[in-house]
Amino acid sequence: MEKICSVTIDGKVIEASPGQTILEVARANGIYIPTLCHYSNTTNVGACRVCVVEVEKARSLVASCTMPISHGMVIKTDTKKVRDSQKMVVELLWASGNHDCLSCERNGECELQNLVYWLGIERPRFNIEPPNYKIENSNTMIQRDLTKCILCGRCIRACNEIQVNEILDFANRGNFAKVGPAFDNDYIDSECYFCGECVDACPVGAITFKQARFSGRPWEIKKVKTTCTYCGVGCQMDLNVHNNRIIKVTGNKDYIHPNEGSLCVKGRFGMDFINDSSRLTTPLIRKEKDGEFTEATWKEAYDFITERLTEIKKKNGPDSIAGLSSARCTNEENYLFQKFLRAAIGTNNVDHCARL
């Protein structure tokens, strides 16, 4: 049986399991603690320091994302000291970068912007002094503007811990710290696989989908949940649709399995074909040998298939029919396909393009 400990957060007594962090317990109980560097499924690093809380008897403020609870802990998340500290940290981040929301792709879904608003900061008390980095524009998929980077390290952990590509890390020290591939190369000159995990991880507008730039504001975008068609894993993803066009694809984090919000380069970036003129949008039937394909309705297509398969099976037996399915169908579709051949047609002549 799980050991239970009891903690008090903002006066509320809460039962929780040992090993849980303060942040986890608070969130599970509807108590909001802001975060920036916290990124689920990766190590808690306690870097941004916006999740600080006051813990009774602690020497200083405590980062709730890394501090495990202990029995009897008394935690306060909304004291003046906590808010002052959060404000200072957010002001410092704001002033350290080129956070010009007017043209920023993340305007409206930027975690820093949300925090500024939540904390009610009119202007930072510090001069805005972004570093002098050039925008990385050398590939077609990902744009990096490190003048907007808040050095939370989420992209690094996404790259190293989720995708295990190990391309990104911090370089340089202190105020000159910078995220990037080895030797400060552009992505295109590095070993980067362009999975785009870093883009999804970025809480601000530092790493963005290049194709999606200026194609639609977050609030204009409709997210359509779907399953990736590139392979059988069945990754759950959101097609970000605006004006009936997919402008970008993001991993769906609500539906945990199987991909937990991650995607690969194909799922994330391979959507150009959807609007291609040569893409099939309706069934085509070739009515006679060497004849032209002609457009048909689904009813016509199914009727034609049923009629021909029934006829062939009756005439030459089920083994005269074979099925070849695609790796771009889902696992479930492939299951159904073999079931159909074996049970409905009655043959074991079924194969798959990825079996080679």
Partner: protein, 926 residues
Amino acid sequence: MREPITDKTIPTMQEVPFFALQDLRVLKNRGLIDPEKIDEYIARDGYAGMAKALTEMTPDQIIQEVLDSGLRGRGGGGFPTGLKWKFAAGEKGPVKYVLTNADEGDPGAFMDRSVLEGDPHAVIEGMVVAAKAIGAHNGYIYCRAEYPLAIKRLSVAINQAKEYGLLGKDILGTGFDFELEIYQGAGAFVCGEETALMTSIEGKRGMPRPRPPFPSVSGLWQKPSILNNVETFANIPQIMLRGGAWYASVGTEKSKGTKIFALTGDVHNVGLVEVPMGTPLGAIVYDIGGGIPKGKRFKAAQLGGPSGGMIPIEHLNAPIDYESVEELGAIIGSGGLIVMDEDSCAVDMARFFMEFCVEESCGKCTPCREGNKRMLDILTNITEGKGKPGDIELLEEMASVIRDASLCGLGQTAPNPVLSTIRYFRKEYEDHIYNHHCSAGVCADLFKSPCQNACPIGMDVPAYIALIMDNRLEDAYKVMLKTNPFPSICGRVCDHQCQSKCRRGKTDEPIAIKFLKRFITDNAQRPKVEAIPVTRKETIAVIGSGPAGLTVAKDLAIRGYKVTVFEELSEAGGMLRWSIPAYRLPRDIITKEIDDIRALGVEIKCNTRIGKDIPLSKLESEFDYIYLAPGAHTSQKMGLPGEELNGVYGGVEFLRDFNANETAWTTGEKTLGAKVAVIGGGNSAIDAARCATRLGADVTILYRRERDDMPAAIEEIIATEEEGIKIEFLVAPLNIEGKDGKVSGITCKRMKLGDFDRSGRRRPVPIEGSEFTLNVDSIIAAIGQIPDLSFLPENSDISINRWNTFDLAEGSASQTTNPKFYAGGDALTGSDTVINAIAAGHQAAIDIDTAIRIKNNEDPYEAPKEEEIIIPFELDEDNPEAPQTKMPELHGHERKKSFIEVELGFTLEDALKEAKRCLRCDIELD
């Protein structure tokens, strides 16, 4: 052997104070063994502690011994070492690590290096004991790569220990294994932080990890680990051998044993100093360190490196242990102890240390990465004169957030120097921000030259020195008169704060600015003074015709006001005329400069005491504003029995009487008798003593402290000694003996020096049974002066404090609590210098004029355009080292028996030679 400061011969090394007062435990083998020979280490009890721990003690017993010793982490944290070991020992698991932090990176600290290079086996031995205690079989020494000799000697030591069976498999045949490796750090300060150090050994970027989990639970490669500093481990062998109780026998209640400090900065003896915990800071700085060179004043000590804090002069008695130091806002840290004298700027020091932390921040957490950088920006702005109101408060707020919210110790402690300098030197910050003034003369953007910056009235020293070189003495005189109404007086009696900040003084000796000033006034044609027409309706009365009163009068007359000065005595000049003797300041010199002020149109009414000859109320009704500068003309009483006897004089009273009745004194009509004792060590005491000796008396000065503590100017003390006046130091009067109502002697007690007072001088304490009586005919008590403010009626609304000086209105530098009255000079500050009185006069003139103009809704005063004087900008690159040019002086009988001016003044040759030494700090080269 010779003592380095006094050059006294000392028989043995152990008797040199620098060594005598140290207690060598960690450094016991310092310089005595060949660190590359294990036999020599063993010969001095080496590995005996380890042998005892491995063969006679259980891990629990080892830990208990360390707990009993009270040893706390010497790397800076001060966490009890035994407790750390106990936690790690309590963890299950076959793999644990013992780590040594040899990533010493604090600027100026090198105790770990010294141990590693001089006694590497001590660390290895300590580590084996720790390994046994917690059950570890592997260890690393994380040593910075910048210590190649340490790494070499450690490697040699590890190999030799292995050869001898003292390390590696089956140590001493006990079956206990411990393998040790050196890991070289790549030079990141943050890797001294324990979790960053472990991350670095793991081969990753050295960044700290959040705690918990603590390293004793999950450290290197997530295994239970202990990390201790070099010095901590080097203490262990002796704790094993001699026991925890032995170790705890020195130190304070909560801080046991000894600690090594890296003493450096503005102190005579620098180097590693191992002293018992709780040794007072003053003892380290003065007794071991030998005090501050060049007669400068101690300002503060930075304790604990860049993450530490400053301990200022008023806390020299503070015992240096973990608790006391933390209370004062510093930390023991790894033991860096940087002594700073008065020439260090608190803001600049804070900026320097912050710059270090900013450069060494790893960049992981926001407060440290961004916050410390912004604090550095603010500090830099302040030192460049771009500070803004609110900066101090913002720094304080940032410091508190950064301290509370940073991830690791580097960030959390980085604001310490800022906090501690604001705590102790807030006024310096304000001076930088509001007055763009750096009193230490460090922040070069705030001034043209350090001498001008040091001058309370900002005299353009390099300009008039350059004009001497150009033989344009009249222009030089005019340059001086722009800021100073009394250049010929200041050329003789100024305390020349400018010279103490002269950059030339850092190489050989400062420029003789005072003598050059006098040379100009002695040799140039006096610029003609013309009366200035009265253009303003407001009238101003000045009470007191000393330097403060006359400066106000001159400044306001120039602005068109009618000014009347009231003087109680028969001639104007205040202390200049009535206290300073003629052999230092000839009377005609005073008269000429005062006459120049009269010539402007200022009326000086002598023999007029306010409150007696004219009631204050009359002045109040006749004048719009009244400036109070009555000076401090009453000697402080000693409070001794017999003080009322005939023949007991106050210092200023004697000097005044002498100056008023010189003939009576010199003809013997008035006499002090044959033997005179002068009590005190200030300029008045010296003046009185030198006067008395000129009247033929045998004079002894009795001073309760030592020569270095005398407030009198050093050249005055030297002159006193040259004139054959005895000075008895460390003597305090007890009782004045009398016969027939007249003084016959003075009984004194000898003193010795005790702890430090708030001024940083050692407090004299009486030596019991040391009483002695000196037979004297007269006693002059010159132990301080207080103002006589009895002329003020009780209902004047002018607040006077317990030192009998004026209180000022809040926020004003000259206005009293009654808005019609302004005040300055000694009556405001207590007995002070001429130049400070002049500065107070300038300030009051501005304040009075501004108040009038604000009241009348007028524009601020604009000074009329002055004649432009082009200053030569020639820089002589060939400026070889040369001492200050000596002032020609009167010697022998002529000097001792007369009141003729002692200093004869520079010749043209002297002046040119001296002026040529000026480095022209005012010239900015592009």
